[in-house]
Symmetry: C2
Subunit: 281 residues, 2 copies
């Protein structure tokens, strides 16, 4: 078992199974061929060819595009092709800082293979015996990855809210971390991966944060999404990532990056450079 | 001016000007066409075709390959094609942790376009007014990049010495940092770039370290390679990197990575993801 295996698991995909999803001549996503064939039935919204799914150029602005796609998504939901509506909208964009060309229901995002953003925070404590990390166990009734291990705080990035604002909200909801502590979190970089799932393609960007917690602070979940918090020596966290699939897959990447940045994975490690490169594609 | 410009400057190259340098069927470097034509004159060492420079398969082990290439390098030096001998040998390898197939004089490394490794350390101080960084100014009589700004400690990685051992040696020589302080340095990741220079191609890997120095410690050079040390607010360091070419080019990358990891370049920065990806190729 190896750290590289964890990275590879998040980057398993075959683009031959997809065709580009384009808006105004620019590719914003990837649609699986069977869904593309179905989208051909929405002739006022999508122009579908063997090579691409193109959003109708008659839809000229953010509002018109968003409304038209939302109507199509509602039909696809009624057919059972898209499930798990969150009533949370994601931007369709090429970069977080760019203006989105439309917005789309979160549950539809992987079906259109659109770039999605998330905030992930590792919470750690410095002790006389070295670093310890707070690990979350996801609630058994979560629809995705129930019972699996997770970063202390993590969440998708909806449209219309800042990254740090989102992080502070998730700190409160997931771990009961008050704003005066949460605001000490340091942004430490961005990771990217591209994973094929049952629902489509996930080309994701994870904005990573570190928060050193006071030794006497114990996280406590407030929204029912976390079953328990575990304070583990960093070596146990590292071994669990390396030797098991106990963590939700993309959380492994955030922890591996932490291990590199804090010197727990040393530069002499045989896979050091492939690990550093593999976390950002 | 932008951080991405600094990254691009370290990645300017045109592989069409080079042909692969191969040992035992594996590419280890890139040789410029004019040097390749000259290497054809060393028929017992190199087999040169239009598509590659291949080390003679009759040279079967590390010692035989190293001796044969060293003899050729000495001739190329006598012809003025390779200058600046350091009497320091670098491994020819595909990864730092792999066994090298031969060793080669440091001054010849870019001429053969071989992967080279270095250690770079940012030394910083936390103050009530925020982060400050120690910046070195290279001596005016250095053969390379005289008078330019530099990381507090940096050095190439010769064969036969560990990364941390090398770092501690450089900490002493360049900045007068004693081992009991230098050993607190944290390894924080590896960066890579590929830059075409007058001497050939430099596909380099930089192993990065952070050292938080006590507020009352002042670095002092002991080997004559650093003219002065400057303690700058991190914002001044960031602006100097972004808006000028005052730093030795590859040192910019190490500082940009520091700025990302310490939250000085925030995730909302318009180039955040391209910066994170661009530092590792």
């Amino acid at each position: 078992m190896s750290f590289l295996e964890r990275i590879d698991e998040c980057n398993t995909h075959d683009l031959a199974a997809f065709r580009p999803f384009e808006v105004e001549g620019v590719r914003y996503g990837w649609v699986r061929h069977d869904l593309a064939e179905r989208l051909a039935g929405f002739g006022e919204v999508f122009a579908v060819s063997a090579n691409a799914v193109v959003l109708s150029p008659a839809l000229r602005d953010f509002a018109a595009r968003s409304e038209a796609v939302e109507r199509a998504v509602r039909v696809l939901e009624s057919e059972g092709r898209i499930v798990g509506r969150r009533d949370e909208f994601y931007p369709v964009t090429q970069a977080f800082a760019a203006l989105p060309v439309l917005q789309i229901e979160r549950a539809a995002v992987p079906h259109f293979g659109v770039l999605a953003f998330g905030v992930h925070m590792n919470a750690f404590v410095r002790t006389r015996n070295g670093l310890q990390m707070w690990v979350a166990r996801r609630a058994a009734d979560k629809p995705t990855f129930p019972g699996m291990l997770d970063n202390a705080v993590a969440g998708g990035q909806p449209i219309g809210i800042g990254l740090r604002e989102n992080l502070l909200k998730e700190c409160h909801e997931e771990a009961g971390i008050p704003p005066e502590i949460a605001q000490r979190a340091t942004s430490v970089g961005a990771l990217s991966y591209c994973k094929e799932t049952r629902n489509g393609l996930k080309p994701d960007v994870l904005y990573c944060f570190d928060l050193e917690l006071p030794a006497d602070f114990v996280p406590s979940n407030t929204d029912g999404e976390v079953e328990e918090f575990l304070l583990w020596p960093i070596t146990r966290v590292a071994e669990t990532v390396r030797d098991s699939q106990a963590f939700k897959p993309n959380c492994n990447l955030v922890i591996i990056d932490f291990l590199v940045r804090h010197g727990v994975i040393p530069p002499e490690h045989r896979d050091y450079l492939p690990i550093c490169l593999g976390l950002r594609r």
